[in-house]
């Protein structure tokens, strides 16, 4: 469970950091009459308030993070048993990784365009981001088929089982993101674009996409066996 505990420590650090700005040590009964604005209204006019959806997205990413760190914890715990032998990493995964990364880059680009108010020029970029993410998904399914064809079937070995389960869970999250991205893309092509809402949507999609890319890279490292090497390194450094 060490991966989960590390993840929780990060979350705890964020919560502590946030709470430390909330004057938890103040004595509220002595502060009658004052009306501080809640922090989200922005202390000065320069900073517009963070939209609720964005906070919602961050909280959701916390949940997704918990999900994957638990699954990865399970991976490591299960790996300790003797019947484990690694699943080879199909070459295709490299291509898929590149596609997912490019999709993230495209979204980041669209985000910048939207920030500068170029609502026209971001359309093809959005479409590209969508297509790339879709390519990733199709590629993942293809990778499954290659592995199965090569005889690495789901139930044969725990490493295979984890491979399919984790890529499957990740794929479902990408699929969910794609649905939202499709919605945003369609909106971007509509004749009556609402720049503010579109900007926000692109913002959210970009954040989500970066996060899922990060999750994927970690999973990829796990499958490729680098994560274990890293852990071993840590262990030798510590002892």
């Amino acid at each position: 469970m060490s991966v989960t505990l590390i993840f929780l420590a990060v979350i705890a650090a964020i919560i502590v950091w946030w709470l430390s700005g909330q004057r938890l040590a103040s004595k509220p009964w002595l502060e009658t009459g004052s009306v501080q604005l809640p922090d989200h209204h922005g202390t000065d006019q320069q900073q517009p308030p963070v939209p609720a959806v964005k906070i919602g997205l961050f909280v959701f990413l916390g949940v997704v993070g918990a999900l994957f760190s638990l699954a990865v914890s399970a991976y490591f715990m299960r790996m300790a048993s003797t019947d484990w032998w690694g699943t080879p990493v199909p070459r295709l995964l490299w291509v898929n990784t590149a596609a997912l990364a490019l999709s993230s880059v495209a979204l980041q680009w669209a985000r910048r365009e939207a920030g500068h108010g170029h609502m026209e020029s971001l359309r093809p970029v959005l479409a590209a981001a969508f297509a790339l993410a879709l390519f990733f998904l199709v590629g993942q399914v293809q990778a499954w088929r290659e592995l199965t064809a090569a005889g690495y079937v789901l139930a044969d070995n725990p490493a295979n089982s984890f491979f399919y389960m984790l890529t499957g869970l990740h794929g479902l999250h990408i699929l969910g993101g794609l649905a939202v991205l499709a919605h945003t893309t369609v909106r971007a092509f509509a004749s009556d674009v609402q720049p503010d809402r579109l900007r926000l949507s692109i913002d959210l999609s970009a954040i989500y996409s970066h996060f899922m890319l990060a999750v994927w890279l970690l999973l990829f490292a796990l499958f490729a066996g680098w994560a274990n090497d890293f852990f071993d390194l840590c262990r030798t450094l510590l002892t």
Partner: protein, 592 residues
């Protein structure tokens, strides 16, 4: 004497009329069925939870009948008994308590108490309820599925849960249970995001965190915990589904079942236990923290005194929430995990006792020098303290690793967790319903019926579960369909079992009185007015009762003080609502 800066009341502009995007229902369907109003969703959640909870209650009678009169009821055989246990436990913990505290009270109280018009994502909120309902239906479908519901115990430990020696293991039962949990978690996440973000972003002007009522603190912290803990159950359920349906071996070692070698190999049943309890222990606090928060407010309001040590109470909630993520393995002391973990987990578990004890002290110290109105909510709060202290203290037995060795998996455990996470939170729920019923319906509950229900429930449950500890001490294991002839169990213990069952039936009957009261008072109850308890918090200051869609007429409330200005010296009344501007020039005695 400290002069309180009276604030610059005149300089505060009135709250801007926020241009909220409220969804305006167009028809009866979207107003009452597919409603996006958190208050309606709250009622939907509560009624569904109570309905499925009644099923669990009936199951508990059947189990108790079997334990008191083994062999007397032909239709309760071992299969059924284990199915009843499992469904009873799972329904009570997840589908009743979690759903009612977070989906029910969370939805109703958070927006009202922090001064918001609604949850921040009303549509997701509505979906959350319908997905929850779907989860309940899938769960209930187990009763009608071939082979019946699963009988694996609410802990669903593999390999037993997916093998044929367990009811539902090779049939539909376990599949429906796992799917229902997965669906529940998805639905909960939608609701949970709402509760958290509403507290973060939806607070009215002046509602700083330290001005929030403890109810909101409790529900908020519990939701954050649930969002982090439920994924563990989710992963465990998905992996078990894989094992059961696709032949993987996540949790399944090599097994000879009834003389036959199974295909599985190498899996780790302990891995499941870690995942399950990583969720399961926080789950205890997910139902306890909202109860802690609510009971603090009930005590304060009905003792007309500020909650004692508010800051300490807030810190304790946060600390308990954090610590409860590193104690899970105290459920696994005799599970065969590395015994050295025992030292760590016993220590963390007993450390949690300290912030928990602080909360108890502060509740009783709030009563000290109070002006205690023995209303129904106050009675339930007192009953909660007795029950919770009892159950919390027996937790010190089970948390202290070596003392747990003889007691684990006995009736002592059953008695303990019923006291601490079964009865205690349920008492708070009753208290809370009595307290907020006037706000939800505009009428008071009937006092006589309420008293009958209160005394039977409080004393009855105590009579059920207090003696039960001693059966466990004797060595009677839990989850036993029948004890049979055993040298170390004297016949007198059997008499005790009959007594417990009779009490359980009486307590069960008393719940019908409560339900009747809920319905009867809806039509015949005394008109309550907007603030019958003369309480300070925002939900009692709404322009209408029951509050209309959008909660606050045209202008959002502005908050000028904390939630506990009761019996302020020099004030005209014994409470000052949070919305009352500065009490110009009132001096207060504040202990340095």
């Amino acid at each position: 004497m400290v002069e309180i800066p009276s604030g610059s009341a005149g300089a505060i502009p009135s709250a801007e009329v926020e241009d909220v995007e409220l969804y305006h229902p167009k028809s009866w369907w979207t107003k009452y069925v597919f409603s996006q109003d958190a208050k309606i969703i709250a009622v939907q959640y509560s009624l569904t939870a109570i309905a499925i909870g009644l099923v669990a209650l009936v199951l508990s009678w059947l189990m108790r009948l079997q334990l008191a009169f083994p062999g007397y009821f032909a239709f309760i055989d071992a299969d059924h008994y284990y199915q009843f246990i499992t469904m009873h436990g799972m329904i009570m913990v997840i589908y009743l308590l979690t759903a009612l505290f977070l989906g029910g009270f969370g939805n109703y109280l958070i927006p009202l108490m922090v001064g918001a018009r609604d949850m921040v994502f009303p549509y997701a909120n509505m979906l959350s309820y319908w997905i929850y309902l779907l989860a309940v239906l899938i769960l209930a479908a187990g009763f009608f599925a071939p082979g019946g519901p699963t009988g694996a115990g609410w802990t669903l430990y593999p390999p037993q849960a997916v093998l044929s020696g367990t009811p539902g293991g090779k049939d539909w039962g376990i599949l429906l249970m796992l799917s229902s949990l997965i669906v529940f978690i998805i639905g909960f996440t939608m609701g949970g995001l709402n509760y958290v973000v509403t507290v973060l972003q939806g607070r009215a002007r002046g509602m700083t965190l330290m001005r929030m009522p403890l109810t909101v603190w409790g529900i908020f912290t519990a939701t954050v915990m649930a969002l982090l803990a439920f994924p563990a159950l989710f992963v465990a359920c998905v992996m078990m589904l894989f094992d059961r349906l696709l032949g993987t071996s996540f949790f399944m070692p090599a097994i000879v079942e009834m003389g036959e070698q199974l295909q599985h190999g190498g899996g780790s049943p302990i891995l499941f236990q870690h995942l399950f309890w990583f969720f399961g222990h926080p789950e205890v606090y997910i139902v306890a923290l909202p109860a802690f928060g609510i009971v603090s407010d009930l005590i304060s309001t009905h003792a007309r005194k500020n909650i004692f040590g508010y800051r300490m109470m807030v810190w304790a909630i946060v600390v308990i929430g954090a610590l409860s993520f590193i104690v899970w393995a105290h459920h696994m002391y005799v599970s065969g995990m590395n015994p050295a973990f025992g030292f760590f987990f016993a220590t963390t578990t007993l450390i949690i006792a300290v912030p928990t004890a602080i909360k108890v002290y502060n509740w009783v110290l709030t009563l000290w020098r109070g002006d205690i109105h023995l209303t129904l909510p106050m009675l339930f709060a007192l009953a909660f303290i007795v029950t919770f202290v009892n159950g919390g203290l027996t937790g010190l037995f089970l948390g202290n690793v070596v003392v747990d060795v003889p007691l684990s998996d006995t009736m002592f455990v059953v008695a303990h967790f019923h006291m601490v996470m079964g009865v205690a939170p349920i008492l708070v729920i009753f208290g809370a319903i009595c307290h907020w019923y006037p706000k939800v319906t505009g009428r008071m509950l009937n006092e006589t019926l309420g008293q009958i229900h209160f005394w039977t429930t409080f004393l009855g449950t105590y009579a059920i579960f207090f003696p039960m500890h001693y059966l466990g001490l004797l060595g009677v294991p839990r989850r036993y369909f029948e004890m049979g002839e055993t040298a170390f169990v004297p016949p007198s213990a059997h008499t005790l079992n009959i007594f417990i069952t009779v009490m359980a039936l009486i307590v069960g009957a008393a719940q019908m009185v409560f339900l009747f009261n809920l319905v009867w008072s809806l039509f015949r109850g005394r008109e309550a007015g907007g603030n019958p308890w003369r309480a300070t918090t925002l939900e009692w200051q709404t322009p209408q009762t029951p509050p209309a869609h959008g909660n606050w007429g045209k202008e959002l409330p502005v908050v000028y003080r904390w939630a506990y200005d009761y019996s302020v010296p020099g004030a005209a009344e014994d409470f000052i609502p949070q919305t009352a501007p500065a009490d110009g020039g009132i001096t207060r005695e504040v202990p340095a």
